[in-house]
Symmetry: C2
């Protein structure tokens, strides 16, 4: 039976090439003091920082800065940002970057409004949904996480090698500027990782779901996958192909967005497994997922899952209709591996990333928190260790 | 080149079987006095009226009523509703019904907040966007227009046989309750008409667009069409098939919704032609569109449009990939006609609805307002007359 759900997504998106001119007016709706949050400085090299500052200056906005947000954003950086917001009386946060910068901003936004807490990790451990938050505006520079229209964030605590999710309606970005030309400078490797991250949301959160998902949504999920399958290899080869970058950017926003996941069981087992890898080895999230997901599908393939995996292969990789579900599912997994490791050029094994089996046990234990990861096929600790081994 | 656009859709949707319990709390966010707007009273026969009143009573809401909203809602009914709202100090409107009831409610909502105007037709003629509106909540009883998540309305003035659109962000429903079981009692004919109305939004507003639409959106548009092609005949035959009703209901909300039409040229030429038919003959909108659209496609088919129409046929009706674009386009139109007139069982000609050629000239003149209807292929008055003749 199709599950009941509540859908609401309030983010206002300015999509396209000539939209940044609206940044000042949108910020002014919230106040005059902003915290500009960004990463390693590529936005200074490519001119985006200057264009943003120009817009803010013209609108009389006072700008404070938090730079150096890490690819897997740290709880300490979140705490630092919240401190600035409180000290300076910040009215809104502008996140300029991809998922890490946006997630860090969400952490700051929620922490500032959390009635006196100073450490985001405390909030994460309490499991409290973030109902209130300082307004967040996003200038997106990477197509990957969907964090620009979503209410969730993932924060890392490297002191204890943990990476956990937090979120709530208060930290969903109010406004997002999605200009595909801002992704022209994303290197091929990050483009490939980001593209697989988009796909991973569909695989892991939605499509291979134990819920009885509406057929319309399954069809749309397949077409978002097909969009990435078509355009990711183009963007890897031709970084300034606008059509490819635009399709990937809009796909990223919708792949992890209430429309596509409401009514799905949102199990995220592969994300749990990957978060362990990132938390222990600080690897790129999308790459970790590209290594895990084909192996996970191989591991869970049996008579109960074959039809779903076969459908994916037929609709997304043109797998022969004449094959049995089991053979079609095998062909689908092979096609997906070929896509990740040949078309996108990602390295196919954990050992290629310098990861060995030494922590599999600890990571598996942590991924399933000593119990079972529920999904289309429930996984216990031993299952997870086996999947890690297949990735070696 | 893909067009820039701004996306925002703030409607909160409660989807599913057990959601009406949230009506009272949602209404209470806006106040204590509501105007309940509905049509001919089927909601009294099927028990929905009682269930709604029970919820409102439990939340201490005072209810005023406007019943008898017409299938093509009249400007006079809108004016009457606005008068009640002003006199009684109404805080919010609850529209219980399909597109007509919702559109009527949007007219009321905008008129009440229009600084002293008493006639919605004045507002329509002024072309002013409705930036402010009394909050609207919807309890949807029919899958068709998408008005439940959209910011537009169509109102008829039968005194002068005109049917025109009006809208703006102020009248977009704040909350919509979409319970597929509330459509179980929709008769087969209305189910068929509503289903084609869903498809018509994709054909006329989005898919056959002169804009260079993002491929991802075209793919998703195709899958919403496929959803209707799959489930409409099921719902016509099995009115209480939950899976079919759920897919059709969610398809209706997304077919005419910023996500699917932002960046498209939103030409609506067939809607302009159909609005003339409804304004002069008061026929069911979706039926008028089902008669017009296959003929329109036939009329505009040439070397410049064949590829687009062929793609539709291949992706939605399994038209043979080996056929030339021109032959595939012809097959697509044939398949669409077969779907409308055989699978959905709709009568195929205007003459079947008692319409003759006597007003074609007046209607064509009015449809293009003496100029040209811009679209994938611009249509002047003579073109429109020719298309009407093909429908006879």
């Amino acid at each position: 039976m199709i599950e009941d759900f509540i859908f609401q997504n309030t983010t206002k998106v300015y999509f396209g090439k000539n939209q940044l001119q609206h940044l000042g007016e949108e910020v002014s709706n919230f106040g005059k003091k902003v915290l500009l949050v960004y990463g390693g400085g590529s936005i200074k090299r490519n001119g985006l920082y200057d264009r943003i500052m120009e817009q803010l200056k013209a609108s009389g906005i006072e700008v404070f800065e938090l730079s150096g947000v890490e690819p897997n954003p740290r709880h300490t950086t979140v705490n630092k940002g919240a401190e600035i917001c409180r000290k300076e009386g910040i009215d809104a946060i502008i996140a300029v970057g991809g998922g890490s910068t946006i997630d860090c901003s969400k952490g700051i936004s929620g922490l500032v409004m959390s009635d006196g807490k100073n450490d985001i990790w405390e909030l994460i451990e309490s499991g409290t949904p973030l109902m209130k938050g300082l307004p967040i505006l996003v200038v997106l520079t990477m197509a990957a996480t969907g964090s620009e229209m979503d209410a969730g964030a993932v924060i890392s605590n490297m002191e204890i090698n943990q990476k956990h999710a937090i979120g709530g309606p208060g930290v969903r970005p109010r406004v997002a500027f999605e200009d595909p030309t801002n992704t022209f400078t994303v290197p091929a490797y990050q483009t490939a990782c980001g593209s697989f991250d988009i796909m991973s949301h569909i695989f892991d959160v939605e499509y291979f779901s134990k819920a009885d998902t509406m057929d319309m949504l399954k069809r749309i999920q397949e077409e978002v996958l097909n969009t990435v399958i078509k355009y990711a290899p183009v963007a890897v080869k031709e970084p300034d192909n606008y059509e490819a970058r635009a399709n990937l950017m809009w796909a990223s926003s919708w792949a992890l967005n209430d429309f596509l996941y409401d009514g799905c069981s949102q199990d995220t087992v592969c994300h749990e497994m990957e978060h362990e890898l990132s938390a222990h080895y600080d690897i790129t999230h999308g790459h970790g997922l590209a290594i895990i997901i084909p192996r996970w599908l191989e591991y869970i393939l049996d008579d109960s899952t074959a039809a779903d995996i076969a459908r994916f292969g037929r609709r997304c990789f043109g797998v022969d209709d004449q094959l049995s579900d089991m053979d079609a599912a095998k062909a689908a997994i092979e096609a997906l591996s070929d896509f990740c490791f040949n078309k996108l050029g990602l390295k196919s094994n954990l050992s290629d990333l310098g990861i060995d089996a030494s922590k599999f046990d600890i990571m598996a234990e942590s991924a399933c928190r000593g119990g079972v990861l529920n999904s289309i096929k429930p996984l216990n600790k031993q299952d997870i260790v086996e999947i890690y081994k297949m990735c070696l």
